[in-house]
Symmetry: D3
Subunit: 136 residues, 6 copies
């Protein structure tokens, strides 16, 4: 019996969408107001889902406390109240679009989830825009 266990979390961060190797004009034409050189920001909401067999002894697929602590240690501690472009090394040379952020988060969490389990991450950049990544 494979069940999916999902946990919501959140972090607040500043970011700017642009490429260093493009002119300001080109960045403006592609990223519009998201290219503000002084940054803007979001309350990112996160849903991390792990799918696996129910452990017959405990009745858990994964203890949601463990899942919550993993998110806190590996994502919230690095991303919360940070400037993604400046403070988070993963985005030094990677444009912090929602798509790229969700892949970075998935890659950070994957090593801590058992191989037999599947991992999916949903990231809300705003209440109206969100992205989903399940790995390859």
């Amino acid at each position: 019996m494979r069940v999916t266990v999902s946990r919501k979390a959140h972090f607040n961060a500043a970011h700017r969408l642009y490429r260093k190797d493009w002119s300001m004009e080109k960045n403006d034409s592609v990223f519009g107001k998201c290219n503000n050189p002084n940054f803007h920001g979001h309350n990112y909401e996160l849903i991390v889902s792990v799918t696996g067999e129910i452990d017959a002894e405990t009745g858990y697929v994964i203890d949601v406390k463990i899942l919550s602590d993993l998110i806190k240690e590996h994502i919230e501690n690095s991303f919360d109240h940070k400037n993604l472009n400046v403070d988070v090394p993963d985005f030094t040379d990677l444009n912090p679009t929602a798509e790229n952020i969700v892949v970075v988060i998935w890659n950070k969490l994957r090593p801590f989830i058992k191989k037999a389990m599947e991992l999916e991450v949903v990231l809300y950049e705003t209440p109206r825009n969100f992205v989903t990544y399940k790995g390859d």
Copy 2:
């Protein structure tokens, strides 16, 4: 790296569930109070999701502004503040159940999404009832 990008939108509309070729009694027995000849209505909430590869240059699967404009042009402009049965030609001979509406919306948007990308539409008729269509 295939990522799903989702955008929420909404429109307000009136509708009535019934078949012209059925008697009032039969329509009442199947569609109940949804068969009010004077119509009732909903705030339809829409989640449109596009799945594809991240463009390495921009970091986008699809610019959410483009997705939002597509929804506005092809769905909101035709459906918002309308009577689905009377004002929207797609429902002249098609009962505007949530199931039929979500398929109509998917078919209207599909030509504007690249072939290599997948499209899914979720339609909330009320906060408690919703439908999902991913194509065939």
Copy 3:
């Protein structure tokens, strides 16, 4: 100890904003797309709040089951799956704006709430637009 007890409810309805004694042009200029002669509709969400003393015996200000039944009998039964302009006599000569609807609802419920208690009604026409009435 005066405490406020609030109950959420909902009804789905069609309506049209216009005045019979105005021309179509004037109605269009004031009510815009809300003046669609074929109607549009909403999922109206309602929050009914009653403020009074806690009854020392029961620990209730008002049994929320009683409040819920009052809303069902006097509001939902008359408004749900209806066309407000056509099916609800209160709006035969009253434009069913959110402001007018919330006052009508308040007046319908007030006789059933004890005189020593205060009544407030909040009406969401959409998740983004709502109105509040507390009586005079």
Copy 4:
């Protein structure tokens, strides 16, 4: 055209996570504060989704009223305002974790959904923790 129809429902219940065959110490170390012998409780929110072909006659996959009645009869009537460990026989010898509850609910509903249709159940234990089961 396969479409998914989803319906939200809810029930309020008390429960305790523990195994009778484990010591209090072991139960505490695995289930933490969820092992309170006096129980704690939740507002469980439920999303039941049925996927199937649209019936060409009615435009329905399944009448949401029928789906809603099935949930009421088979889930809400047995679980709402109950102590899952004490009042619900399914959990006499089964730890009422969210994972086990969602499988029990799926198994209770499955016989009433046509074989050609798929069933998925999502169960929110809190607004931040939820589980999903689609059968085997």
Copy 5:
């Protein structure tokens, strides 16, 4: 400039509505299924609001971190994952209706909020039922 600062929090608890000095029949007739002797439970959501002058130095009315810690120390630590009737002394002789709980919470927090400030507590027993207390 008086501004209100609000903070959301939550706790999960079991409870039963009844009076020890009433018969089972009378308790059933007044409290219905809330009188289950084996208890039921809720995810209580809490909004604590403090109104006062903005401190010209900090720009804060109250540091939301301090408000959050007060709620954690005085409410969540005593109520979360507890049986209100059995584990919380305040309800030994007080029926834990939402109305009585919100007054107890207000009384527990009031001593820690400056006298010049106003305190309001909103308590959601379910997403559809909530109560509000502002003191006397």
Copy 6:
């Protein structure tokens, strides 16, 4: 009949909480991680409420389209996708705490609301923290 009309809006922005005339140490001790010199950010959600008499002719207190346009012109255009500290002159010498932001917003909107009407602004900095200002 005085009714309150409320409209939700939103803007995304970066900010930093600190005083230029304080040392980094003092700023850290008072504002904690909100004092990140590289900024962080939020999806600010706004509820603007206007209370007044219903106009007997239109049935409106204020056309919600007019209210929505006022918020767009005077708040969203200046604040959305901006760095509040750097891009918004109001905060050059004013710490952009939620309390100060909500007062600034209220002051910007007040001149455009008729004198006989009351104005209230609620500002969500996160889904869990919000502030309310009604003027003096």
